[in-house]
Symmetry: C2
Subunit: 386 residues, 2 copies
């Protein structure tokens, strides 16, 4: 009898990571973090305005090649405002992957809209443009003003691909679907800072894109996010909306629409500026780890590592092992053995269409996502592990 898969996996991980406990992902502060944060506090500008916010926005725009970046309080808020500015309104539907973190669906809900879940591709883990086109052909009809779900009668307004664990989706295919069905494209690039599709940074293909700098992301601001856009007017509007929609005035408080307090505090932006300086190094380190994992698991039957899609450069934010269907029933045993051994692993998210609050929402057939969810195991992924 061959040794049980969970023992093989624990042993293989230990060979690469050593025997000390490892978290799934933790941040690394070895640059100017202390310096910039100290400087920020000394300036007294720790809150909603300040030089680090401006600098962080400028540097994010430069790094991603986006014309503009608007720093906000977190990735969820970035998504919500990005969708609102893309035209999503109460009563609309928005296509999102079922295989995503709950924030993607929540952001749709906050706008009074309904998420409509679509399937993923095996290769990218992201939305499958071929399956999506087929589904839309079936479930939608063209009406004045756009695409309508023929079953619910609601407008399908936007398409929100998510770059899972940092691996870019098939943007060419998805842009074509968005174009053909008149859907606004908004990218959930929360996990993919540093990832490129055909040389272009994720989050810059859609009308708007959203980044996250939560503590578990490739760089962190404590909590934070950003809206990316190529459109100056949308960027200005994003800034306005996320800063309570107050008109500039020496002393009057006039708010010309219903905005949000979604500003990123300068304190958090200071941390972000230091982290951004370290991003290139994090990317190298994560790529090394991916190579190490791939080598180590090359001869393990029935498992493989997710690799960057062809034509893409992934940030390898979160490493993912995929179990073959034949051993999918061992997922929980593997999760258990690795976590017991102090090597933190986790499965993919419960897919959105299985969560109680979203169970009633429209969805396409979801065979690939259903399969992936039973087979994905995320491995320790912090920068600096190897």
């Amino acid at each position: 009898m061959p040794p049980c898969l969970s023992i093989v996996i624990v042993d293989t991980l230990k060979k690469i990571l050593g025997t000390a406990p490892k978290t799934l992902h933790e941040p690394r502060f070895q640059g100017n973090e202390h310096r910039y944060v100290r400087d920020c506090i000394d300036s007294t500008f720790v809150s909603s305005v300040g030089a680090y916010v401006d600098r962080f926005e400028r540097e994010l725009a430069d790094y991603t090649g986006s014309r503009r970046a608007v720093a906000v309080v977190n990735g969820t808020a970035a998504l919500q405002v990005a969708m609102q500015l893309a035209g999503v309104r109460s009563g609309d539907e928005v296509i999102v992957p079922t295989l995503t973190f709950v924030a993607t669906a929540n952001a749709v809900h906050y706008l009074g809209a309904t998420p409509h879940f679509a399937d993923s591709e095996m290769g990218t883990l992201g939305l499958d443009p071929v399956a999506l086109r087929e589904w839309l052909t079936h479930c939608s009809e063209q009406v004045a003003g756009g695409t309508r779900n023929r079953y619910t009668g609601r407008p399908i307004r936007a398409l929100v691909p998510m770059h899972t664990f940092g691996h870019p989706c098939d943007m060419e295919g998805l842009m074509a679907v968005a174009h053909d069905y008149g859907l606004a494209l908004v990218e959930d690039a929360a996990e993919s800072l540093g990832s490129r599709y055909q040389g272009r940074h994720t989050g810059t293909f859609g009308k708007l894109g959203a980044l996250s700098f939560n503590g578990n992301k490739i760089i962190t601001t404590g909590g934070g996010g950003a809206i990316l856009t190529q459109d100056e007017k949308l960027a200005d509007h994003a800034k306005h909306l996320t800063t309570t929609a107050k008109q500039p005035h020496r002393w009057e408080y006039v708010h010309d629409e219903i905005g949000y307090n979604f500003r990123m505090p300068n304190l958090n932006a200071a941390l972000g500026c230091a982290q951004l300086e370290k991003l290139p190094g994090f990317l190298v380190s994560k790529r090394h780890l991916a190579v190490a994992y791939q080598g180590a698991f090359a001869n393990t039957p029935a498992v493989h590592l997710v690799q960057e899609p062809v034509g893409c450069e992934s940030n390898y934010w979160l490493q993912a092992l995929i179990l073959d269907e034949t051993v999918a029933d061992q997922r929980d045993a593997i999760l258990n053995a690795t976590n017991e051994a102090g090597l933190m692993t986790r499965p993919a998210w419960t897919p959105m269409h299985q969560l109680a609050p979203y169970r009633h929402c429209p969805h396409a057939p979801l065979p690939v996502a259903d399969s992936l969810v039973r087979r994905i195991i995320n491995l320790p992924s912090s920068a600096g592990l190897v």
Copy 2:
């Protein structure tokens, strides 16, 4: 001819504040801010969990005498979740003062509810319970399940007093109105950390209360807020809702309702812990400033300083000069002269019922708020000014 009022006011302010420029309100970091923030970064726990968040919540609860405090990303988020937990639902109306910062009304709107604006009292600057009772007698009717606006047909679900500039409202009167009309009481205590009504801390009278630690408040976390409540179950629910409603599990991601990413990052809580240690000193300093302003303006005709209401202890967060009706037409000249002189002043907010996005909302007669808005001038108010 007597010297023009704006010159008198500039001169009086300079006597107290000196001639160097003064902002309206700025934070002060002279305690453990650097130490705690450094320690937080060194711990690598800068994000959504961490020891400083727990400590800040515990210390806020101790300080305010609230059974629980739940730290969140800002005061607006605190208000939104507090109202939701108090039972506010889409389609409801919520009574809020027209004389408030726009966040109070926005939080109502985010829940799909409609703000219903009520008038203030001259003495407290907060909601007037006598006028409110009169208005409700006129505009509402009792139906199964509570109070209904007889003109709009919508349920009036909650009452949200705000403690303006840190001066407590007439809570006894407002609690009686809330009780008699079956309205959930939620306090907007964003401005009143440190203020007490009959010995009890503001924000602890209602079912829930909201604090803000924005950069302009008496203490700051960069951006931040907290939900106060005496009810353990509501506090646990607030924590759940503000942390994406994820069920505790070693690895599964199950969200059992639609939550929010409204966590306060540990980095911001670290700053908050240091600031909270300094709060007693800030309160003393602000009280000195209030006394100094009162003395200095005692002989200026046609103006007076807002003083803490009888039976209250105000935090004197923002000092406010009130012009007599006879000189209200000089408000802008005074704002201009003081700001030109480098002494930052500002008027009250544009009242909610005059803002474009809220102009259509129901409101009571608002004579006092309308008068106050033409007459309030906030003066430089930072701790440490005298």
